[in-house]
């Protein structure tokens, strides 16, 4: 019951996002043919506008758009004439998703590890080391880290390819560059959460049972500490797998990130709408999965809708 209800809420959310994007987009001054209008005859521009239904009144455009959206047709791209938005997403998304998933895994695994170590050695050497790593990770932007990585690992030591996309080796440096900041954030989250949990009474109970510190952390600490971190992982997951403009640009990765940015500059309406809706579908669905995962982590959380 909960899941069905939740599913409809998700559809509603996506519809709201799509509509808002449509409205905001129409408020941006200019249109896709603003630069062509100076050089091309008026009739040609008129024809081009007609091809993309831009001559219709805005409410009609909206209805047409939503109609296509329901059929999973995101329309043609205005900028790259031969490709549809669906083509763009299906060609760019795999690279972005691979890169994002790898970064996410690294960020979670090492972030949690670092956070747990820091908490267990609270105010001791290892805590300081972990937190220095975390602060550096948060403060150094990826566009500085990426060229540094390229400079050492590729140019000086020749261990890994400089840029472009293809093999696993190609993905190592961008993954590292992309993972650092979220890794640091996860580490800090986990540290503070873990510190709180390790002061709880049930940890004392576990200690009084004669459990080793390792077992106490593993069986009683982590599961209770991880919940706040999980709620952060949802949005992080989405922002990582839907492509990052900067990293994809630096490493020349054919991902989806650049279309997000370019489409706005070009007023490429269908691409703006398509990528945004795609992004929100993934976000909403991920949040749904995260909500379900809470239930498995914390038995006190019940998946019921109001009135059940």
């Amino acid at each position: 019951m909960y899941i069905v209800k939740r599913f409809f809420t998700m559809l509603l959310t996506i519809w709201v996002i799509a509509s808002l994007t449509f409205v905001i987009m129409k408020f941006i001054p200019g249109d896709p043919f603003a630069s062509d209008a100076d050089v091309l005859p008026e009739e040609v521009v008129e024809n081009m506008r007609a091809k993309y239904n831009l001559d219709e009144p805005i409410p009609i455009q909206y209805v047409l758009y939503i109609k296509n959206l329901v059929m999973f047709d995101l329309g043609p791209s205005i900028e790259s004439e031969t490709r549809t938005v669906n083509d763009i997403i299906s060609s760019g998304f795999p690279a972005s998703a691979t890169l994002g998933l790898q970064s996410l895994l690294i960020a979670i695994i090492f972030g949690l590890l670092l956070g747990i170590i820091a908490a267990l050695y609270h105010n001791r050497f290892l805590d300081y080391v972990s937190m220095v790593i975390a602060i550096v990770g948060i403060s150094v932007p990826s566009f500085i880290l990426a060229p540094l990585l390229i400079n050492y690992f590729s140019v000086k030591w020749g261990m890994l390819p400089v840029a472009s996309w293809g093999s696993f080796q190609h993905s190592i440096l961008p993954t590292l560059a992309l993972a650092t900041t979220p890794l640091a954030v996860v580490a800090r989250f986990m540290r503070s959460s873990m510190l709180e949990v390790m002061n709880q009474n049930y940890i004392k109970t576990a200690d009084a049972k004669g459990l080793s510190s390792f077992k106490i952390v593993l069986k009683h600490g982590i599961r209770n500490a991880i919940l706040p971190v999980v709620s952060f992982i949802g949005p992080l997951f989405v922002s990582l797998i839907t492509g990052t403009f900067v990293i994809e640009k630096i490493f020349a990765i054919p991902g989806i990130g650049k279309y997000f940015v370019d489409s706005i500059f070009n007023r490429d309406y269908p691409v703006i709408m398509g990528t945004t809706v795609f992004f929100s579908v993934i976000l909403v669905f991920t949040l749904f999965l995260i909500d379900i995962s809470y239930r498995f982590i914390d038995p006190r959380i019940k998946l019921t809708s109001k009135g059940d």
Binding site: Y202, G210, R223, P299, R300
Partner: protein, 338 residues
């Protein structure tokens, strides 16, 4: 006869930003096999710190064990390496805490929490551990043990959770059970049930119990011997009879007088102990109770009283028991029969 547990001259401090707090100052006592010892005293008197140090549960830092010894079955606990101490914790000594609402892991099934000790100490197989856990749930009086085994703590009521804590503490048949204010967080009817359960289990298993409480009614009901603590020190100790019938320390008098009496015909104001507990950052050099004591003499403020043995095993740390002290009229405690 050797004692099951012997604590000698225990001193524990805590480092804080304001300086070092002298939480436990020179406490000595013993527990014999099959005996119930009660430790009473107000909040901050050092009761909990004393018993937690037995289990090595005092975090160091900020805690510092300044001196003394804790011997359990002839073994010096303060000198045991952590690994050895862990073999005793949970298997030979079990502990129940004050707040059952927060003392169980909220994300682990209650049955699993009971099993943990069995698996590490007795190397029980999963099936054995489960069987024993269900037995324990039954023993502590929780109905439908099999169903309860699979439930989480939030599905238990407060009293049930404390019963579950008792099951955890007793799972490995410990020689000594430390109960740190086991009933304080429970409401009155549940308190009685939990105490009744502890008494019953004690009679059946002959486990020794250290019961910490500030409820003198509980003491009279369950304990054989009593230690009264104040300001990190033991001010009086003796049998329940000694403490209730022949108390020799003004603080004990005050405690006994502050018990409401349900049989009293006319309504009387309860008699509180005026003043507040001593500042343990800089405890007074004399008796810690002197500033609040109606009978305080000059010597009380100047010098720490020694231990006066009233009769076999009944000891009071108060100058009034010195032969040179003036005789004072002891107030008649309300709790006593006249």
């Amino acid at each position: 006869m050797s004692h099951l547990l012997k604590v000698n001259n225990l001193k524990i401090n805590f480092k804080t930003y304001g300086g070092e707090v002298k939480a436990v100052r020179d406490v000595s006592f013993h527990v014999d096999k099959g005996e119930v010892l009660a430790i009473v005293g107000e909040s901050g008197s050092g009761k909990s710190v004393t018993v937690q140090s037995i289990m090595g549960l005092i975090p160091t830092p900020p805690g510092i064990i300044k001196g003394g010894s804790i011997q359990f079955q002839g073994k010096e606990l303060l000198k045991q390496p952590k690994k050895e101490l862990r073999k005793i914790k949970g298997s030979k000594i079990g502990m129940i805490f004050q707040d059952p609402m927060t003392s169980l892991n909220p994300t682990m099934r209650v049955g699993k929490q009971i099993e943990e000790g069995l698996i590490i100490h007795q190397h029980a197989s999963k099936a054995e551990a489960k069987k024993r856990a269900i037995e324990m749930i039954k023993l502590v009086g929780i109905p439908n043990p099999e169903e309860r085994y699979n439930q989480y703590p939030h599905e238990y009521s407060g009293g049930m959770r404390q019963r579950a804590m008792i099951a955890i503490a007793l799972a490995c048949n410990p020689e000594l059970l430390i109960a740190d204010e086991p009933t304080t967080a429970l409401d009155v009817t549940i308190q009685a049930q939990v105490l009744e359960l502890m008494k019953q289990i004690q009679e059946e298993t002959k486990t020794s119990i250290i019961l910490i409480t500030h409820d003198l009614g509980v003491v009279a009901e369950t304990a054989k011997r009593v230690i009264v603590m104040y300001g990190g020190m033991m001010v009086e100790s003796g049998t329940v009879f000694d403490i209730f019938e022949n108390p020799k320390h003004p603080y004990t008098w005050g405690l006994l007088n502050s018990i409401p009496n349900i049989d009293e015909e006319e309504k009387k104001q309860l008699e509180p102990i005026d003043g507040s507990p001593p500042d343990l950052f800089a405890p007074p050099k004399g008796c810690p109770f002197a500033p609040r004591c109606k009978y305080a003499m000059e010597v009380c403020i100047e010098e720490m009283p020694g231990e006066y043995e009233i009769d076999g095993g009944h000891v009071a740390k108060c100058w009034l028991n010195d032969p040179r002290a003036p005789k004072v009229e002891e107030p008649v405690a309300l709790g006593r029969e006249e």
